[in-house]
């Protein structure tokens, strides 16, 4: 995890420096705020990963000498098919079309999104099995 953490921390540090320089010399705020946000996006996950990397044993993927058998076992639950992303996408589609074609489209849109949330959650509880 340490390399991942360092990449993010390095980006955060860079944006922090740029934020300081830009904030000091420029006379507008938007860019400074956005760079401050960039700094946080580097530091928050980067710091979390770094904190973890000091508390965990190197994973097989961090160990240059790892053999494939070290990675054997359950990696995670990967569903092979699911209709809920499509349902959720259709719901979002209708909600965006409502911006133009009439606010009533929000109702079926929210309905589909809610249905997808319920269905997808239930499917997740069965660990991706139908």
């Amino acid at each position: 995890m340490r390399v991942e953490a360092k990449v993010l921390l390095g980006l955060g540090l860079f944006f922090g420096l740029m934020f300081a320089v830009y904030w000091h010399y420029s006379n507008e705020d938007a860019g400074g705020v956005m760079m401050f946000g960039g700094m946080l996006l580097g530091f928050l996950p980067g710091g979390y990963y770094y904190w973890w990397s000091r508390r965990m044993k190197p994973r097989p993927e961090d160990n240059p000498g790892a053999t494939q058998s070290e990675g054997a076992g359950v990696v995670g639950a990967f569903p092979s098919s699911s209709i809920w992303p499509f349902t959720l996408g259709c719901g979002c589609f209708l909600m965006v079309l409502a911006l133009v074609f009439g606010i009533w489209l929000v109702i079926p849109g929210v309905g589909l999104v809610g249905w997808a949330f319920l269905g997808g959650t239930a499917e997740g509880r069965r660990s991706g099995k139908h």
Binding site: F15, G65, G71, V75, S81, F93, L99
Partner: protein, 571 residues
């Protein structure tokens, strides 16, 4: 020396991985498979097909634009239609083709394969990304079917041109809505790529053994997470200004129009690298494989990618020099600095080819074409990074030619990627003769199309005009440029013809190019959850190590004899 390379014994006894996941897969078929699949390869294929269709649509707009400009007073389209065409050409190409193709299409298929993962980290989120992208594209394009026509304020939607007074009509709102959807699609893909690369690598696949393509995609994903939320927020503000009476971007209500430019370009400039970095990665892989060498300067390449990404967030206002309200020295220095890591990459690509056994397959030709075209686009970009030159050329055809050199280089890279990875994805090769014909049309067409633009721009021809003064030189140059656009169009036809001609004709086998990275170890096309077995991973090119057990090049291109003490012992 043998310690660092896989033992012959290992090659026979590679362990089965993810065994419990390999129960026989009985999913839906046909259109239901397309609608419900969460397999990253199926989703990636959907992305590929959709984004190539978008490229053809955007290309048709481009051909109409160039046909209109072939003579000074053409009446092929009306002025209003011309505005819609160049707006939608830019929008379709940037938002709906280049971006999704870069981080949605090949990335989706290849990244999990390259790191030995069974799928993307969040398969259903991945599917959602695709649907949001598809529906977002349909939303944006549906503007053409509304009474007022599609959006017509340029792909940058500058305030106050984009407010409800200057651009009434629902085409603009559909443009905003479509971008909201595709923006969220991009953010979800970014999250997914980061999580996949951080958590699903195969044992032994350390960060500094990942292929450059995967590294670049990881950096791209981080850039997406930094940049796209800003665009989404800006679009919501723009919509509020248009419909809910807010005055964020209007002077009348105390707002600041330039704020839109800041927000837009804070997304827009990283977006350039979100588009470019994946293609840099593709080209790196292609050049290494077809030069029969490891990537030259592997770590330098990664460092260059990271520097480009970091710098790209500090250069947005070089699109805004002429507003007169930006900190010129800061942005000029940062923009010029980007040339350094990009130059490192350029030299590393040449260094990879240097003294290699170069095989000029179609993919390699496309990659070399990419280098040349990108060099032209990149060098003219350095001109534009300098404020005095930018004041002179801003909003002229010089800028148009500059970024078309860049993006056409990306198209060359994309085609190279399709020829290189197509066999892995589909199991069948594309015809090389057709491929080479396509390359020459595309490469020559690109130069014929862009180079007159540079001259026109220096001569003062503004961009985004449907008609121009009767000037014999301008007309000739525009006609040459149109000829280039026609050549590019022919290359696309040759590509489609090649797909039709080669359809299931040339079975590829697992590793037709004798390639280096992990994805060529599995079958073509890969099975459900990708790998039945994995080789020992001891360098950044595990498949090459496996297929060439006696070779002397060790990780990162050093010679084993000289640096054996630095190598990691096998556990």
């Amino acid at each position: 020396m043998t310690d660092v390379l896989p033992h012959p014994v290992d090659q026979v006894t590679v362990e089965h991985v993810h065994e419990d996941l390999h129960e026989e897969h009985h999913g839906p078929t046909g259109i239901l498979k397309w609608m419900t699949s969460t397999d990253h390869k199926v989703i990636g294929m959907s992305y590929t097909v959709t984004s190539v269709i978008m490229m053809v649509i955007g290309g048709l707009f481009a051909e109409i634009i160039r046909a209109q400009l072939a003579s000074p007073n053409a009446h092929l389209v009306s002025l209003a239609q011309y505005n819609e065409l160049f707006t939608m050409h830019g929008s379709v190409m940037i938002y709906l083709f280049a971006g999704p193709f870069a981080f949605g299409a090949l990335a989706n298929i290849i990244v999990p394969l390259q790191i030995g993962a069974p799928d993307m980290a969040f398969p259903r989120l991945n599917a959602l990304s695709y649907w949001l992208y598809l529906f977002g594209s349909l939303t944006m394009l549906s503007g053409f079917f509304t009474a007022g026509g599609a959006a017509n304020f340029g792909w940058v939607a500058y305030a106050p041109l984009s407010n409800s007074l200057n651009t009434p009509g629902s085409g603009a709102d559909l443009w905003i809505g479509g971008l909201l959807l595709t923006g969220f699609s991009a953010i979800f893909t970014g999250v997914n790529l980061c999580a996949t690369i951080f958590y699903l690598r195969a044992p032994g696949m350390t960060m500094f053994r990942m292929p450059i393509f995967t590294w670049n995609l990881m950096v791209t994903a981080i850039l997406i997470l930094l940049a796209f939320p800003v665009l989404t927020a800006g679009l919501i503000m723009l919509y509020c200004d248009r419909h809910f009476g807010t005055h964020i971007f209007s002077v009348a209500g105390g707002g600041v129009p330039v704020l839109w430019q800041h927000i837009f370009w804070f997304w827009g400039h990283p977006e350039v690298y979100i588009l470019a970095l994946p293609f840099f990665g593709m080209v790196t892989e292609i050049i290494a494989v077809f030069s029969r060498k490891p990537v030259f300067g592997y770590k330098g390449m990664i460092f260059a990618t990271l520097s480009i990404a970091a710098l790209s967030l500090g250069v947005w206002a070089h699109h805004m020099y002429t507003t007169g309200v930006v900190l010129l020295p800061f942005f000029a220095i940062m923009s010029l600095l980007i040339a350094v890591p990009t130059g490192i990459k350029m030299f590393n690509w040449i260094g990879t080819m240097w003294r290699g056994e170069i095989w000029f397959s179609t993919a390699m030709l496309m990659a070399v074409g990419f280098l040349i075209t990108f060099l032209i686009g990149g060098l003219t970009g350095i001109f534009l990074a300098s404020p005095p030159l930018d004041f002179f050329t801003h909003d002229t055809y010089f800028v148009v030619a500059h970024f078309h050199s860049v993006v056409m280089a990306l198209v060359l890279g994309a085609m190279g990627g399709l020829y290189y990875w197509g066999p892995k994805i589909t199991g069948y090769m594309l015809n090389e003769t057709y491929g080479k014909i396509q390359f020459w049309f595309l490469f020559i067409g690109t130069q014929v199309f862009t180079i007159p633009g540079y001259i026109l721009g220096l001569d003062g021809m503004p961009r985004r005009i449907a008609m121009y003064p009767h000037d014999p030189q301008w007309q000739t140059l525009n006609q040459i440029s149109t000829l280039g656009a026609i050549l590019i169009g022919i290359s696309t036809i040759v590509f489609v013809a090649n797909i039709a001609y080669s359809w299931k004709k040339y079975p590829a086998g697992d590793n037709p190019w004798d390639a280096q990275t992990l994805e060529w170890f599995t079958t073509s096309p890969p099975p459900h959850h990708n790998y039945y077995r994995l080789p020992q991973i001891r360098s950044e090119r595990p498949t090459w190590d496996y297929n060439h057990p006696g070779h002397t090049a060790s990780p990162h291109g050093h010679h084993v004899e000289e640096e054996s003490e630095q190598e990691v012992p096998v556990a």
